[in-house]
């Protein structure tokens, strides 16, 4: 087993070993690591900006979405009114899987875990009264990222907002969907081709848009250790970069727009070391592997998605302490954007009270804790510096192993990445079972599950689903069907001829095409896929 996989004989996680299983010494002597270059300088381990968070804190970006565009619009406005500085849209599973709200396969799941977006009109309802030229939006969307971006761009065109003013992110990271999270539709090669079309379109048309958020967090949720998830994230990033380079787009033209998603976890020190190590790892990959010369191509811009799996259903109010440490770790680590999980996360998607509390936790950390005094506040700690070096070494070992044995796409297609992650998932569960991973209020014998309180949780609204389906049916009846069909035909032509499909999708959005219809075009051409499970 390589050094970056866990050993199963560690007895004291959180005491003698970090969350990723890195051994920790009783104390660290001075002089073992040389000082890193200052914040704002290559390799950016100490931060992307010389002034840290002095000018402004990270972006407060809580994840929100349920029912239809109108219901979610109200929630977004509520968050902005309470000081949220960026939007993060949760889309329902049918939207993520390219199914219209009236598709039989979407039954029961419309508007449940996110907002249902079937067509341009739904996107317009979602953003009613929200100034898209001045607030950024992040969409957790992958297999249908092109469709969602097409709806967004079509909305901007209709509003008269110049495309170059649009700022935001689509996750658009299909590779990790095959190893974690599972929202994939087409085979890996076709999926990467669509990701690449979107990246290329943004490089030419949407300079302030992050066309991909290359994600570690979901692999962590699937069982990978935090450090392993970071390593696989970079292996995937390299695969995307190679795909874009194959289009003839120079690295320095697209790399400044790449963004990343890896999260702050319960181990605050390892979290800080990981964000520092990730910045250095990416800067070195960009410069040494891809020959970047533009410093902006070397900057690891990251959103921290929060340690959702640490939230317990038992004694849910305790989760607020976990959330606070989570936000504090991310801030010490120097992230650009942050979501913290909500205290009711183990039950349902958050209530309005729970999401406001999560936003308040971010604001308390940003405005009351002093974390913004100075860039990279833990720099120079013998422990943090040693841990940063160790994590960086492990990340580089993972990247070397994957890239020298076929690369990420091969590892995912034959299931090697899934198998490595499943093994860690199993080891973690065994540690929870025998108490080596303490979860207070859940498995520690001094704090058994006593307070089984019933929380007021989010209530799914079946009426909102009916309204969504009925809006969709009116939309189908009222549009110019011949124009819609023609637009869908243009997508098929571009897809078959290996042309960039993005602009045909924007046209189709304006012609009233739905997400299910557009995805159906791709499904007919690309076919479907079932990923190896790794077990």
């Amino acid at each position: 087993m390589p050094a970056w996989t866990s050993r199963d004989d560690i007895t004291e996680f959180g005491v003698s070993h970090t969350e990723s299983g890195i051994p920790v010494r009783l104390s660290y002597p001075p002089g073992e690591t040389s000082p890193l270059p200052p914040p704002g300088e290559f390799p950016y381990a100490r931060g992307l900006r010389a002034d840290g968070y002095r000018t402004r804190p990270w972006t407060f970006r809580q994840y929100a979405g349920f029912a239809g565009g109108t219901e979610t619009n109200e929630r977004l406005r509520y968050l902005v009114a309470n000081g949220q500085s960026g939007l993060s849209i949760a889309l329902d599973l049918p939207t993520q899987m390219g199914l219209d709200s009236d598709d039989p396969r979407a039954k029961y799941e419309v508007g449940r875990l996110g907002v249902a977006i079937d067509c341009l009109a739904d996107m317009e309802a979602l953003y009613d009264g929200i100034p898209i030229e001045s607030i950024s939006s992040s969409f957790t969307i992958n297999a249908t990222a092109l469709v969602i971006l097409a709806f967004y761009v079509a909305m901007a065109d209709r509003r008269g907002t110049p495309r170059e003013k649009l700022s935001g992110t689509v996750q658009n990271d299909m590779l990790k969907e095959f190893v974690a999270r599972g929202a994939y539709m087409y085979p890996p090669a076709h999926s990467v081709r669509l990701c690449t079309d979107l990246i290329e379109f943004c490089v030419r048309q949407l300079p302030k848009w992050n066309p991909i958020s290359i994600a570690a967090a979901h692999m962590r949720s699937a069982g990978a250790t935090p450090v392993m998830s970071d390593g696989f994230m970079f292996a995937n990033a390299i695969a995307y970069c190679e795909a874009v380079l194959d289009r003839g787009v120079p690295f320095d033209d697209f790399a400044p727009q790449l963004s990343f998603l890896t999260s702050s976890y319960k181990d605050v020190f390892e979290t800080v070391a990981r964000f520092r190590a990730c910045r250095a790892a990416w800067a070195k990959i960009a410069r040494d592997r891809f020959g970047a010369t533009n410093p902006r191509s070397m900057t690891f811009r990251v959103h921290s998605g929060g340690d959702i799996d640490a939230m317990t259903a038992a004694e849910p109010i305790n989760n607020v302490a976990r959330m606070t440490l989570n936000a504090f770790g991310a801030a010490l680590g120097g992230v650009q954007s942050l979501q913290v999980p909500c205290y009711d996360e183990a039950y349902e998607i958050p209530t309005e009270d729970a999401i406001l509390n999560a936003l308040r936790v971010q604001q308390i950390v940003a405005f009351e804790s002093g974390v913004r005094y100075t860039a990279d506040p833990l720099a120079g700690s013998y422990f943090i510096e040693a841990l940063t070096a160790e994590v960086l070494g492990q990340i580089e070992a993972i990247v070397d192993e994957v890239t020298s044995t076929g690369g990420a796409i091969e590892w995912i297609t034959d299931g090697r990445m899934q198998a490595a992650i499943s093994r860690e998932a199993r080891l973690w569960e065994e540690r929870v079972a025998d108490g080596r991973e303490v979860r207070v209020g859940l498995n520690s014998d001094k704090h058994t599950f006593q307070n089984d309180q019933e929380l007021a949780v989010h209530q799914f609204d079946p009426d909102a689903v009916e309204a969504q389906v009925s809006r969709l049916s009116k939309h189908r009846a009222s549009r110019d069907s011949a124009r819609t069909a023609e637009a869908l035909g243009a997508i098929a032509d571009a897809a078959r001829q290996d042309q960039n499909v993005m602009e045909t999708l924007v046209d189709a959005a304006k012609a009233g095409a739905t997400i299910g219809e557009i995805s159906g075009v791709f499904a007919n051409i690309f076919g479907d896929f079932s990923a190896p499970t790794g077990v």
């Binding site: 599973l93 049918p94 993520q96 899987m97 199914l99 396969r105 979407a106 039954k107 029961y108 799941e109 449940r112 875990l113 969907e177 974690a180 999270r181 599972g182 929202a183 949720s221 699937a222 069982g223 317990t312 259903a313 038992a314 183990a346 039950y347 349902e348 998607i349 499943s422 998932a425 199993r426 569960e429 065994e430 079972a433 859940l442 498995n443 089984d452 019933e454 949780v457 799914f460 079932s530 990923a531 499970t533 790794g534 077990v535």
Partner: protein, 130 residues
Amino acid sequence: MTRVLLAKPGLDGHDKGIKVLATMLRDAGCEVIYTGLHQTPTRIALAALQEDVDVVGLSMLSGAHLELTADVISELKAAGLSDRPILVGGNIPRRDIPVLQDMGVARVFAAGTPYQDIIAWFAAVPGRAT
């Protein structure tokens, strides 16, 4: 040897729990068939029939567990498998546990249940295919 079908109905892609369970059940001596993601109730019943399993385990974290479980139960019945016990796991609120049991679900294991308890339950299901 108990033959177990583990399945993910609906569109939810979270399968860490069901995959860990699959490996643990194999270690405990069960024969485990895992369907993979995005299964319709009809396909789950078909897999149960073809594999002639003793027990069916469903995992759902999407919130649609009541509706999807009801559909799986009726498909299993249509396939002549109404005697096979069904287990439901995942993100199941406490209030829904009696509802699922009234539908005919033999056992519900909500998130946070120790794996030992789940393995012990499966081990007690009598294997027929001997």
